[in-house]
């Protein structure tokens, strides 16, 4: 047996397991290369994103009416990139609001989000030289319980009579509660949910909606920061890579299944080894080159002898090592 498989040959790289890490690495490289490439270049093209052009208009209208701009950076349990991204967009919004000295209200779902929100928004006011105008209570923690949060925010929307509302980030069921409440008082609404399942409701109830990926493109679009624009280009490369990989798969699979005449197999790959079949069977997508490439098989017979730890006492029920 392969008992002396090198320790460098990690479990996740056995059979076709290497594809995953390799592919991930490739995407990361694409993104980083483009960030590097973007460097100073500021004039890189980004296609128009309707929702974002409406931001200034929305804030402007809020100022005319002298009513606050309300923002919700999604319902993530803790801070993650989605929250950061939402707050990046909101800091752009707050920047405009600050210049018009228009009140803002950011409703946070969890304490970590609240922490980052405070930090980021205060930053914005400082950069604009309006540190004294910043009201710490304009970034609020509402509740970390989904529907208490929903009740609280819709209460705020109605009482504060928000003129413009921004819902961006992770939204779930409550998305429609917010959207319809805001709609009922005639606020301009710009929304986006990374959850495809909620987008239709925003589409139904809001004025402008960023669909899926547009959310991540937003801050690049708004700020034209080379880093962001570069990474956006990189992301496009990644999407194309995915698309091409799929296309290659399409073609190779189509060929291997045998157009107009189904290929019959005489041997199949099982436990990471080719084994002959007693009677031929029609090939399936699991047997094709791509099929195997994207699905690692593990060899149960692969065993490795190691010396035992002298002072190790096994538990009464031996636990499997987590070599998963």
């Amino acid at each position: 047996m392969l008992s002396q498989v090198s320790s460098w040959r990690g479990d996740q790289y056995l059979d076709t397991g290497w594809v995953g890490p390799f592919f991930t690495l490739l995407l990361c490289v694409f993104i980083l290369i483009n960030i590097k490439r973007a460097g100073g270049a500021k004039d890189l093209f980004i296609r128009r994103i309707a929702g974002l052009n409406a931001i200034d208009e929305a804030v402007g209208r809020a100022t005319e009416m002298g009513r606050p701009v309300l923002m919700v950076p999604g319902l993530s349990d803790s801070v993650n990139a989605i929250v950061v991204q939402a707050l990046n967009i909101f800091s752009y919004v707050s920047r405009i609001a600050a210049r018009f000295s228009n009140p803002i209200l950011i409703c946070c779902y969890s304490a970590p989000i609240f922490t980052v929100g405070q930090e980021v928004i205060r930053d914005v006011y400082n950069q604009e030289g309006l540190a004294d105008k910043f009201d710490p209570d304009s970034v609020r923690y509402i509740s970390d319980r989904q529907f208490a949060f929903a009740a609280g925010v819709s209460g705020l929307i109605l009482r504060e009579q928000a003129a413009a509302t921004f819902f961006m980030g992770e939204f779930y069921a409550e998305s429609l509660i917010f959207a319809e409440t805001a709609n009922s008082i005639g606020a301009i609404q710009i929304a986006s949910s990374t959850e495809a399942t909620q987008t239709p409701f925003f589409i139904a109830a809001c004025d402008y909606v960023l669909i899926g990926d547009e959310f991540y493109a937003a801050s690049a679009y708004l700020t034209r920061q080379p880093v962001l624009v570069g990474s956006l280009v990189g992301q496009d490369w990644c999407k194309l890579t995915v698309a091409f990989t799929i296309m290659i798969g399409l073609i190779s699979n189509t060929v291997q299944l045998g157009p107009f005449k189904h290929t019959q197999l005489t041997e199949e790959k099982k436990d990471a080894k080719m084994k002959p079949l007693e009677k031929p069977r029609p090939a399936s997508l699991n047997d094709t080159f791509m099929g195997n490439l994207f699905k690692k098989q593990s060899d149960p017979e692969l065993k490795i002898e190691r010396d035992m730890d002298p002072n190790f006492k096994p538990a009464e029920a031996p636990a499997e090592g987590g070599a998963g």
Partner: protein, 250 residues
């Protein structure tokens, strides 16, 4: 008060709370405001409870101090290093300080860093299989019939397997639509290319339309759940509270 009466009272209060929150549908009013604030209060209070009972106690405190042996389970040693999380957490509280607010970025940095690392870890686990599954054969492997012949009246498993393995023209066509949709949608989300070529323009526009089909379908299946929950609420109010609770029916 007997347990039964208690349950009735509980139901009653539940119904009251429900009505209170529903009242916002009519307009924002004091009644709603009252229940809203109770809701927020209870929620935060409960958050403070579970913070210890569900998270910190087991994931942190028990690990710091360990545990003594209780019926059968051996004692576990305490690992003091965990206590270092307190000062790290405390740094977050500097966010309000004018001078040291940068320190709040340290605990946040740790949380964010972990999240980011995980993204790299999970990407392929999530999307690899989906890419694999999207590689559908575009040409039929059999032209015996346009549609998949029904296997309902077949008994021989081998025969059924044969039919299921085949790709019939209708399936091939479906696959073509599938792939077209996928690629159109992907192309719609290309941001950094100025779409000049006619073909790409067509793709992106149809991409947007196909998205709408997808969203329509989502809307449809979501509606089911939302209404179910309302129905369940109504069941609670009418059947559980009124019929079974008050009127004592079954």
């Amino acid at each position: 008060m007997s347990h039964e009466n208690y349950l009735k009272l509980k139901l009653g209060i539940g119904v009251l709370a429900t009505i209170g929150l529903y009242s916002v549908l009519f307009r924002e009013n004091k009644f709603y405001r009252f229940f809203e604030h109770i809701f927020l209060g209870l929620a935060s209070g409960w958050a403070l409870v579970v913070l210890w009972t569900e998270t910190l106690k087991e994931k942190w405190w028990d690990k710091v101090v360990g545990s003594a042996a209780i019926n059968g389970d051996p004692a576990t040693a305490g690992y003091w290093a965990y206590v270092l999380l307190i000062p790290i957490g405390l740094m977050g509280y500097f966010v309000f300080s004018k001078k040291h607010n940068w320190m709040s970025r340290i605990p946040i940095g740790i949380i964010l860093g972990m999240w980011s690392g995980q993204q790299i870890q999970v990407w392929f686990n999530r999307y690899g299989p989906q890419m694999r599954d999207s590689m559908k054969p575009l040409l039929p492997t059999s032209t015996d019939s346009f549609f998949v012949p029904s296997t309902a009246n077949l008994t021989d498993p081998a025969q059924i397997a044969q039919i299921n393995a085949q790709v019939y023209p209708s399936e091939a066509l479906t696959n073509v639509v599938y792939v077209f949709t996928l690629l159109c949608v992907l192309s719609y989300f290309l941001f950094s290319f100025e779409i000049k070529s006619k073909a790409l323009k067509v793709m992106t526009t149809s991409g947007r339309w196909l998205l709408m089909i997808g969203f329509g379908a989502i809307f449809g299946s979501t509606v089911m759940m939302r209404f179910t929950l309302l129905i369940d609420r109504m069941y609670f109010v009418w059947i559980e509270f009124l019929k079974q609770g008050i009127l004592g029916g079954s």
